[in-house]
């Protein structure tokens, strides 16, 4: 069984390592200090189980689990936390595996055998009802997993099947609906068209084209996006408020 340890504190990682060494049939394939590193590392190692601390800088455990759960062959996740500020205890150990720090060897062994995949419903419950918005967009492109911080995302553009994420470093395809994205990132992104959401703080200017259609120009994108006629006043208002 391949295991990945994710925790921002070195002693906490050491402790898990010590305990894993005592378990038979365990191969430690890597250690990460935060969720983003963990996702990148997971891609190379294809670990079966991820031991995931909940409170971490950059990307916390809950968001990491969510990205992991969206993968094609998601690993099993075991949360580790020092204090039950998250509703972990409300979960039956079979529904979602968690370990309280300091972790006990027996509990770790039990969790490794029972750990399963977490789903979005569980994560939402774990976060105390409302799933907090992600701070990253995570998607595969040409068989490579990309993790893009939300600050770098310029806009989401939908075509028939996928949503294209335009970000400062290129493009990604995600298999999510524009409506869900709009809801999740309501404060940061603004709908300008049936098929497009733009990052409010990345808008460069609004300009009318030859036919009188309003166009929105994004920083770093040469091609403008069209603003639907019925959304023009709302877009103008939001952008004025946003600047």
């Amino acid at each position: 069984m391949k295991v990945l340890i994710v925790d921002d504190e070195a002693p906490a990682r050491d402790r898990l390592k010590q305990l894993l060494l005592a378990q038979p049939g365990i191969e430690l394939v890597g250690e990460a200090g935060n969720g983003r590193e963990a996702l990148e590392l997971w891609e190379h190692t294809q670990a079966d189980v991820v031991l995931l601390d909940i409170r971490m800088p950059v990307m916390d455990g809950l968001e990491t689990a969510r990205h992991l759960a969206a993968l094609e062959r998601p690993p099993a996740v075991i949360f580790t936390t020092a204090y039950s500020e998250f509703a972990v205890e409300a979960f039956d150990a079979h529904a979602i595996a968690y370990l309280l720090k300091p972790v006990r060897g027996e509990k770790l062994a039990a969790a490794l055998t029972s750990a399963g995949r977490v789903n979005r419903v569980q994560l939402t419950q774990l976060a105390g009802g409302a799933a907090p918005a992600r701070r990253h967009i995570c998607a595969k492109l040409r068989d490579k997993l990309h993790v893009v911080p939300l600050e770098n995302v310029l806009c989401f553009v939908a075509d028939q099947k996928y949503v294209t994420v335009h970000h400062t470093g290129g493009e990604l395809l995600v298999d999510e609906s524009l409506k869900d994205l709009e809801q999740e990132f309501a404060g940061r992104f603004l709908r300008v068209h049936r098929n497009a959401l733009v990052a409010v703080n990345q808008v460069e200017r609004l300009e009318k084209d030859g036919n009188g259609h309003l166009q929105v120009y994004m920083r770093g994108l040469t091609e403008p996006l069209e603003v639907s006629r019925r959304l023009v006043s709302e877009v103008r208002e939001r952008l004025r408020a946003g600047h």
Binding site: D8, E9, A12, Q18, G33, A82, P102, R135
Partner: protein
């Protein structure tokens, strides 16, 4: 030890009568009584005799009042040992006895020298009896006044003590369990560090369980905060740096226990931990114009990062405890800039008592 309170002395209803403020109150009460007695005797439009009378009555009353104050001041150390009721009766009897003596002396003096004879009533017994009755009433009121004042003060003190207990700085459970986890990790590989961590942790808990209203010298509070930071350094490694710039503050400045530590804990919890690369907490102190000022700065995670709750609670707690210790004279200000958070603490410099 300065920390040990002396309840038997502080718990007595008569204040330290020889202290300036109390003497002023006594003089004021005597003078008001003199004024009242004069007004009772004369109508204001009678002119000169009123002032003359006031002067003589004042002289007589102040004489009695200050003598009484002196006697009670000296008797206080015996009175303190008595039960309240007995002490009150004894004080009362003392006051009446003094008045009796003074009246007698005044009468005899006046008889023998002839001074102020026109002020004295013809009857010796009537003069003394009248003075005793007036003294009985005024003394009862004054003793009652001191008693109620004392009750009120001790109530305020008790309430402050209770507030203090509620406000007693609590160690975050998160910190406890993370530290335990760190210790568990260190025991095998680096037992000497684990030992240190357990010692530091014990000191911190001992401080957090002890009487929070007790003030400690800054040096003690600083070493506690440093012990706390040491445990956090084990956990956070190179991500945590602390910069102590406290040379400008006298180490004997006193402050309530666990004032500095929660502020540093806040700085680490909200400022350093959420940062991938960590950062530095700066603690800088100066002492000017009798005030100690301590500034604690920490970097802040960028906007949009998930907010950790509970910062305000710790700050309000420290602020309230400072307010109870130095009403109106201590301050705790906070300022959030784009990428920095700053807490400024100022309180009066009080050397070792």
């Amino acid at each position: 030890m300065a920390d040990v309170p002396t309840p038997s002395r502080d718990d007595f209803f008569l204040p330290e009568l020889c202290s300036g403020p109390v003497v002023i109150i006594v003089v004021l009460i005597a003078e008001l009584t003199a004024f009242m007695l004069t007004m009772a005797k004369h109508l204001p439009d009678e002119g000169a005799p009123l002032w003359l009378d006031l002067a003589r009555i004042s002289l007589f009353l102040q004489w009695i009042a200050l003598t009484s104050t002196g006697v009670l001041c000296m008797a206080r150390r015996y009175l303190v040992r008595m039960p309240h009721r007995q002490a009150a009766i004894t004080s009362y009897v003392l006051l009446l006895a003094i008045t009796l003596c003074m009246s007698e002396i005044a009468f005899q003096l006046s008889m023998n020298t002839g001074a102020g004879r026109e002020l004295l009533p013809a009857s010796h017994g009537g003069f003394v009896l009248r003075n005793l009755v007036i003294c009985a009433i005024v003394s009862a009121v004054v003793l009652r006044y001191f008693y109620v004042l004392h009750q009120w003060k001790s109530n305020v003190r008790r309430e402050a003590g209770a507030r203090f207990e509620i406000l007693q700085a609590r160690i975050r459970p998160h910190f406890l369990f993370n530290s335990m986890n760190t210790i568990a990790a260190l025991i095998r590989g680096r037992p000497e560090l684990a030992e240190r961590a357990i010692e530091d942790l014990s000191d911190l808990f001992r401080a957090s369980l002890s009487d929070a209203s007790v003030s400690v010298p800054l040096s003690e509070e600083m070493s506690l905060a440093k012990q706390y930071a040491e445990i956090e350094t084990l956990r956070l490694g190179e991500r945590l740096k602390l910069e102590w710039l406290m040379a400008g503050v006298p180490e004997d400045a006193r402050l309530p226990r666990l004032t500095l530590q929660p502020l540093i804990e806040n700085a680490i919890y909200h400022g350093i931990e959420p940062l991938d690369q960590g950062g530095s907490v700066q603690i800088k102190g100066v002492c000017e114009a009798g005030m100690v000022r301590i500034e604690i700065r920490n970097p802040m995670p960028p906007e949009g990062a998930p907010v950790r709750h509970g910062r305000q609670m710790a700050l309000d707690n420290v602020r309230e405890r400072l307010g109870l210790t130095w009403p109106g004279r201590a301050k705790l200000e906070q300022e959030r800039r784009a990428e920095e958070f700053c807490v400024r603490l100022s309180f009066p410099y009080e050397g070792a008592p």
